[in-house]
Symmetry: C2
Subunit: 286 residues, 2 copies
Amino acid sequence: MELRHLRYFVAVADAGSVSRAAAQLRVTQPALSRQIRDLESELGLPLFDRVGRRLQLTAAGDNLLARTRDILRAADGLREQAGALAGGASGTLRLGATAQTLESLISAFLVGFRRQWPGIDVRLVEDGGMRLKTRVQRGELHLALGAVPAGDDLRARPLFPVWVLAVMPSRTALARRRTLDVSELDHEAVLLLRRDFASRLRFDAACETARIRPRVLIEAGDPHSLVSLARGGHGIAIVPSTTLFSRAGLHVAPLTRNGRAIGGSTAAVWDARRHLPVYAQAFVDA
Amino acid sequence: MELRHLRYFVAVADAGSVSRAAAQLRVTQPALSRQIRDLESELGLPLFDRVGRRLQLTAAGDNLLARTRDILRAADGLREQAGALAGGASGTLRLGATAQTLESLISAFLVGFRRQWPGIDVRLVEDGGMRLKTRVQRGELHLALGAVPAGDDLRARPLFPVWVLAVMPSRTALARRRTLDVSELDHEAVLLLRRDFASRLRFDAACETARIRPRVLIEAGDPHSLVSLARGGHGIAIVPSTTLFSRAGLHVAPLTRNGRAIGGSTAAVWDARRHLPVYAQAFVDA
DNA sequence: GAGCCGTTATACTCGGCAGGCATGAGCGCA
DNA sequence: TGCGCTCATGCCTGCCGAGTATAACGGCTC
């Protein structure tokens, strides 16, 4: 039994005659006649009574007609939904982001995106950059946003640059500097993020090349706590520029190494091997 | 889009691999692969991500999978219902009967039939014998029960004989007779049914051949009223033997003509050109 | 990293079936 | 009785689904 049989059945029942239905279906009457007989033989019962030159639904046929219409409606619904999904009118966008990206970028941007793609159900996942990467590769996420390393089969689109900032109280000696070289932090007390933050990794790499070992007072999972410690004069907080905080009483200087600012780029990363829904592509473009 | 595509889609999604699904479906892997691609191209979106040697549902595919299962379930339901209808487990039996047959036969018989065919919805229609005939021919009824004339494309199965009875008070002169010839009714006052009753037509025909003209006191549509008039001594009621009434104070004699009882047969009549559901056939047999 | 296994995609061929054409058969109507 | 309308049947063709063979590719192991 195929949908064709059901379409034909309904058409004949509606038209009240094989020839008329055949004309509407753009097939010939014998072809249609055959399909109806095939369906009847498969179902094991006659759908129509052949009385004289006219077809008339049997009681059983009338009974099955309603169900058949339901099936065809459902099939149409499937097509329609597929069209909507293909056109991006509906669907699910599984989005991963680092906490900082979430705070600084997503929450603001998502408002506009939700307005533009009202049918899209956006699911947000917060995780560290490295773990986001594996989740994209596993297919759990469509997109990862943040300072996520690309590579392998992942494709990335840089969104905007992220600098590594040094945050200190305004009255510190170093607070007069517009920028701060990593080497100047030697033996300074610094407040760092954990090693699953991209900015921390960049800072470490810069210290490595500069052969300095700052005193690490704390390794935190939240840049805000570092800023608040810095405000209290406990050291220099090293945070990414995506961190949002009030700068009152604080001095903020981008970290440099050999005159070049340390930093990278927040990127949208996805799996090149997988198909990206149009709305996900639109998200990246936006 | 055909049901085959949907069956294949679900199979692949369930098996998690084209090859395994192909084995289960008893088709080869390339055939299945092609059908999936065809479905994807028709729907306009990829259902699976080809990541390495593994297929994985896309978000859209997962979305459509639920709907697809619904459709397949509905199609199975259709088959099942067709099987039930073919096997007679469910359906509608449209039954027509004359008032007398209804009273004498159907009401008692239907109890057993309903027990034997619990899924069958029996619709009863009461009408005159001639009109039942046309309604069977029009396909409104599966079966007509009663003294219905056969002929044309109607097939009949005699159920039991019906005699034409003369009903009179016990104290009448004629009340000693075991049977009564029509000729003996000449100039007697008779109480008759209307001309749409088969027994009336038979009585008229007998009078015609006997060349008698009884006095017709009344033409009624209900044999019971005739019986009650006869009990009151107003004449001889001519009713079919299917009439149920108390015989207290009454004498009942079958009418004869040339020594042979006048009567016919209650029959089940159906349209030979149409398909008769098994339960309708069972009704006739029972 | 070379080789093997498992999986999917591609190329080609074959066969069955849907559909078209021609025609027969049945019914209703003038 | 002939005509028109409708459905059924027989035959043919072309397409498409399925099979076979094989390539491409990823992952695993040694």
